[in-house]
Chain length 190, copies 2
DNA sequence: CTCTCGCGGCTAACGCCGTTAGCCTCTATT
DNA sequence: AATAGAGGCTAACGGCGTTAGCCGCGAGAG
């Protein structure tokens, strides 16, 4: 295992265990038994470390999502993943700047899964993506009141899109709307 | 105008014009023609300033939302507000810690408006809130591909909930589901 | 076997950050 | 006229990411 990988490993452990304020170069170096400036022999700086963490996180999420075959499962996987790795989710979501560094292939996988489940209806796919992201974000931020039944909220959210799709499909026999597949799809994640 | 208000004003201008990385105590002091430590004669620290900014932002948003009478308008108002004040929106959304300092009344206004428009259906209200928040968040983060027609996405998102509500209302004549109003409603904002 | 070169550590330091301690001046009140 | 406090000031602390420059040690070349 390269030293660089060690650094990213420790960074991930630190982030997940103690939160973003503990992920500092000095602390990271301490954890590795070296001095902070030595980190720069292996890594260009903190942004690169954060990008690498996003990279890892995204890959695992995308793989999980690509295996889903219905909307409810997809939503559940997305939510469960975010709740299981809240700091990584936050990092991925709060720092779109670093996404220049991400290999582009990873992000489209999840989007492709979603697009497949909505029969290529881009606006709907994006609306669902937004909803899933927003619900998770609010949940992680503790924005919902303590007693709120969030399972019910997700259920309702997914059901709404499911029934609406069915309704739309029933109404739109013959010539469809302007909902055909267009560009390769929105980037996923976050 | 009290010195404290002056500080918050400058902070808001600075945040909106130059972004969060420019909102530092020293810069703030410079802008006011004083030294950084002097700020502490009027304000307990940076968190208080950020809380005050959130407070202002939330109040204006809540007032705008409280005046809406249909879902599409509510969504449009929410989105327009966020796009008009992206930094303030980010600040309000990224720092739920500071919400201890917020007067509780402000946040419930918007939630009340949303709850009113969904006939007291809490899960639906929360799903819509999550969706609006998520879509705005992704849009601000530049997560959608360049050519994406986001107006269409919002239209689809709102339409989906509108038709689903209609469908549900039609199906649920007689005994309703478990969707009656419960707690005073989720806190709004974000 | 020796010489060299570079990997991977080190210390010192810079400029930023939020914040505290302690001083002083000026104004308004008693 | 005396006094208290509001509101400035400077100096400083500990932390942050990062850069500059030094050095030992081990591997590979001659």
């Amino acid at each position: 295992m390269s030293r660089r990988e060690q650094i990213i490993d420790v960074a991930q452990r630190l982030l997940e265990a103690e939160g973003p304020e503990s992920l500092t170069m000095r602390r990271l170096a301490d954890e590795l038994g070296i001095q902070a400036p030595s980190l720069y022999k292996h890594v260009s700086g903190k942004p690169e470390i954060e990008a690498a963490l996003q990279q890892r996180a995204l890959r695992r999420l995308a793989e999980a999502l690509a295996r889903t075959s219905d909307l409810a499962t997809l939503a559940a996987v997305y939510r469960r993943w975010a709740l299981a790795h809240p700091r990584l989710y936050e990092l991925s979501t709060r720092q779109p700047l670093a996404r220049d560094r991400l290999e582009p292939g990873v992000e489209t996988e999840a989007a492709a899964a979603l697009l497949r489940l909505t029969a290529g209806d881009l606006p709907t796919a994006r609306a669902i993506w937004g909803m899933a992201h927003g619900l998770v974000d609010l949940e992680l931020a503790g924005r919902f009141p303590p007693g709120a039944d969030l399972d019910a909220v997700w259920e309702r959210a997914v059901a709404t899109f499911a029934t609406a799709s069915a309704t739309r499909a029933r109404h739109a026999s013959g010539v469809g709307g302007r909902t055909g597949p267009g560009a390769p799809g929105g980037r996923a994640s976050g």
